[in-house]
Structures are given as C-alpha cells and as structure tokens.
Subunit: 334 residues, 2 copies
C-alpha cells in the first residue's frame, strides 16, 4: 500500500516511469503526478489497479505544491523535475540555477516540514546527473561516485548544488533521500532535440526520400557516452527507492561507452543507408567531455541493478516509434 | 595607477583592507567601496594619496551595481560581500543561498559583460571559505585545496556553488578571477558576535567588576581552529591579486591549530583571571568539525605569503581595542 508522488511527470522519463509502474506488480495504490506544463496526453493505466491523478504545479514556488503534497501524503517522492538542458543553461544560467535551486529547496522543504510522525515515512529519490563530474585529467577512467566533482557548465553546477543541499539535510534533519547521477539515456518517445532521436529522424527522412546515401550534419560525433535504455533507468529508480541508502548517491549507467559515430553506423546498417558525416562546429557544445563512462558497481551492490536492454534493441524500437509518429523539430542538439 | 572596487567594504575585513591600502605604498589611485548597509563611520585615509568613495548598493540586484562598476572601470574587484554567518544560514537557508548566489552572479556578470577590450583588465578576488571542506574521515590531516568538498551547512553549500560558478566562467569566458578559502581570522574591530571577541568581552566585564575568578558559558571550546590575524589576511588578498593564478583557489590560513580553550587560557593569563568553563549545549552549532587546520603551501608558493602576526599579539591588541570601546552584544556565537 504505497502512495507515490512524481514531479516532472510529463517528461520523457516521467512517462516511462508511469508505464513501468503499470507493467509491474507493486504495492503502489495511488500515484500523483505533477508538472509545470499541462498534461499533453492523459495517462491511462491498463494493467495495474492503482489510481492516477495529475496536477499542474509550479515547483519553483512552495505553494500549492506543499499543500498538495501534504494532502496526498506520499510514501515515495520521485523528483524528476528540473531544468535539464545544458544548452539552455548556457543561454540563461541564472534561470537554470534559480529554478533548479527552488525546485530542490521546495521538495526538500516539504519533507523537512512534515509532522515528525510522517517524516521517516516519506522517502525521496532525487534524480541528478553525471554532468556533476565535469572536467578530469584522465578521461579514460570510468567515473566513480567518490571522485571530485568539477562541474563545467551551469547545469552541472546546479546539480552539484542539489547534491550538497540534499546531503546536508539528510545528515542534520535525518531525511530519507537517495540521489542518482544518471548518465545518458534514450528510448522510444525521447524528443528529437536530443542526439539519438535526431539522428534517427534525419536518417528516416533520407530513407523516405528514397536516398541510398545520406550526408549528416552533426556535432562532434567522436564523443563517447554511456547510454542506457530509459526503461532500464526507471527500473533503477524503483530499485533505488526499495534498496538504496539514504544520503548516498548512485551512478545510473551501463559501464560501457559507445561513440556517437558508432551509433550512427548501427542506425545506418539497420536502415541500409550509406552515411557520410560533416561536423558542424556550431552544433558543438562548450565543455563537452570527450568520454563519459560511469562505473555502475555501487548501484549493482546496493540493488542488483544492471543496464540490460542492448542499445541495438533500444535503437530498433526508437526507429519503429518514429516511423509511427511524425516529428517537426529541425534542431540537432548533442 | 590602479582603480580598486571593494564589495562588502563596511564589514570587518573591508575596513581592514582600506586601512591596509592606506598603510602601504601601492599604485592604487582610486578606491570605490560598496556595501548593502550605509557607512557607519566615514573612512578617512591618512597616508596614501588615493581617492576614496562609498556607495550604498544592493549587490543582490544587477543594478545599480553594474552601471556603477562600469562607470568606475576598476582594475581590481575585491569581492568580500556575502551572507557569511553559518548560524544565520541555518535559520534561513534560502536567504543565504539566494543572496550569495545573486551577489556572485552579479559580480561575475559584470566581468563577463564588459566590452571585450576591458575584460582582461579587470581582475577579481573572490573571497570564499574553508567551510567548503566540511565533513571528512580524517580530521587530523591539514586541508589541501585538492581535497573533496563536502559542505555540511547551508553557508558552506553556497560557497561551493560560488567556487563552481567562478571556475566554469574562468574556463569558458576567460575571466580573470582568483578565489580564496579563508580560514578563521580575527583582530581588532571584529564584532563580538564572533567567538574570540566574545570571550574577551566576557572576561573584561568580569575584570571590570573586580572578579578574580570567572565562570564562562561557552560552546564547545575543544574545537581546534586555524586562526590568522585579519591584517595578515588582507595582505594575503593583496598578494593574491598581484600574483595568484586565475581559476585557482587558495587556502588563506596559518597552518597551525589552536583550541578555543587554549585561546581562553591565553586571555585569562593576560588579564590575570582564573577561568572556569561551562559548556552550554545551546551554543553548540550543528555540524561543527572538531578540527579545521589548513595547509598554506599553495599560497606560499604562489605569493610568498605566510601568516605572520602571532595570535598572542592579535589578542593583546583586541583587548586594548575593547578597553577603548564599549560593546553591547549579549550573544556568544561560535
């Protein structure tokens, strides 16, 4: 018998989290989803008998979020809401910092101000980012949670701030919060503002036009990233809520890197296209680390979680999904 | 020929910085001091021929600070202004975070938005705090700049955020900013809300009442801290502006610890008093590290600076200063 509050529920991960809870037998009986934006498509659960309700709420303000959350009285608070675009954080760093700070502050404040008898009850999962690692000397070494954080973009700095705030509140107010450093994830339904869906969109357009060879304009495709399937990621979040240790932060990653070029090659092979690459320097992001690979040992030891879905399968399903839908976004942001 | 802008000039360190510049032959010709609070006593320089002007400015807003600073066109920006009380940061963390963020953001923004031809010209000294180190496993080890930061109070978290913001702006916008992690400092003129002046006040009151033995109510006086004289500290700031490396952060510390109890013993000896101690748990601050000692090697290598004034001399001058003035603050905040 669990009540679960999800912030940022309209996002890519939020939608997959709902679907995941609908696939799995859990003891969840009620879910309240909140988001800054209105619900684009109502979520209708099909299998599991929990009740679902959506509320449009601006988390950067304490109210009405606090009242709503107090009325709902959740056992789990899954905090996905964030200004999470690195590119946008360069365009308006103050907005990214202030909004992310306020959202973290208000969610933690809700836990802190609860009547003391409820406090140990509500457990929060605070989703963070591998961006906190930032700059290093040795790019090859898989990133471990104990490493120095050297955030090198405004978004990353806001995530360090979130981690610190949670850490000290867990310590001094005995709050029950588990944090993640989530690495790259993708999957069906991700906006084609993101790199993998944007590759797929461009290749599918070429295919539709009957082309056999495609000329792709990209950012620096030599970048190596650690990709997991979004469905593995939401499973990790669930397992961390079940078994993670409060005050700890866990990498959510596969532990293996793949270059963006390699992803393009796999896609080209699947779609039977010849692809040539032109690197467009304007698509290059300031301070992109050449290699980001995480070490997933800590989460494995705590929860038994491993990234399972092979990237090839993820890509195949993303192609199928895009073939069904249509997409209009002309931007490629890596 | 240098123009120097000082934020937070009305504070303890700001006043000493002005006095320091008045004692020393430098190439400073103009100083503009700004502070949130009105000037309590006008600064009149006695020796050096620079001009001094004060403006009351709220640094948490971009204006009028930015216009004022642009008009003044400083070569050096010494950023002392901050919400710097740990105790106050516990009472109102959001205020501490938001104000410190805004002040850092607005000063860095001034450097960043300057016409490009002025940019390399203005060099900033961003004063930070040893509080960023926070929690450790091994308390004995002197703190080095390369160590993990684990802020354990809201003030400390705001200082980590400041460091990160400066670091990434130096990196990507080629700004010229040197940062400090300043350890404890004290000296004549420090408010008796702080630990050492509060000891002195209490002992002097007893002395005035003709007591031979004094019963002191204190926080945990077993705490060991690394104290420097404020006049050494402002000298360090000057030397860092001259010789520090942009993007680097420097401990400003003596490299030696002394317990608060030991300081009380020295004061009792000087004032010929017998002192007994009662530890008042309500004066105890959450998350006080038992030992905070810094390693000053990095600043020494960069600038040749060392903490010089012996603590005994500092204490003697503080007693003399308090004997001249009167103090009303009843609080002991450690």
């Amino acid at each position: 018998m669990k009540k679960c509050l999800i912030t940022g529920v309209n996002g890519f991960v939020g939608r997959h989290l709902l679907q995941y809870f609908d696939m799995l037998e859990t003891d969840i009986t009620e879910i309240l989803g909140v988001d800054y934006s209105p619900e684009t498509a109502a979520f209708t659960h099909q299998r599991q008998p929990f009740s679902y309700r959506f509320e449009q709420v601006d988390l950067t303000e304490p109210e009405p979020f606090t009242s709503l959350a107090n009325d709902f009285d959740p056992d789990w608070l899954i905090h996905l809401a964030a200004e999470s675009s690195v590119a946008a954080s360069w365009r308006d760093p103050d907005r990214c910092m202030t909004n992310n700070w306020n959202m973290t502050y208000n969610t933690v404040r809700f836990l802190k101000l609860r009547p003391i008898q409820y406090q140990p009850k509500c457990r929060m999962l605070a989703v963070g980012s591998s961006e906190v690692y930032g700059y290093r000397e040795n790019w090859e070494e898989p990133l471990e949670e104990s490493q120095q954080r050297r955030p090198y973009n405004p978004y990353a700095a806001s995530r360090v701030h979130q981690e610190d705030w949670i850490q000290l509140n867990v310590k001094w107010h005995k709050l029950n919060i588990v944090s993640t450093r989530s690495f790259n994830h993708t999957g069906p339904g991700q906006s084609d503002r993101f790199v993998v869906p944007s590759f797929i969109r461009q290749l599918l357009e070429a295919k539709k036009n009957g082309q056999k060879t495609v000329h792709l304009k990209t950012g620096d495709v030599r970048l190596i990233r650690d990709f997991s399937d979004v469905r593995d990621v939401v499973r990790a979040y669930h397992l961390l809520l079940e078994h993670g240790q409060s005050g700890e932060v866990y990498n959510v990653c596969r532990g293996e890197g793949i270059s963006l070029l390699n992803i393009i090659e796999i896609l080209a092979e699947m779609l039977k296209l010849d692809v040539t690459i032109e690197i467009d320097e304007t698509l290059r992001r300031r301070g992109e680390p050449p290699i980001v690979i995480g070490n997933p040992e800590k989460i494995f030891r705590a929860t038994g979680w491993k990234s399972q879905v092979p990237l090839e399968q993820t890509l195949k399903e993303m192609i199928q999904k895009q073939l069904k839908g249509t997409s209009k976004n002309p931007l490629v942001i890596i």
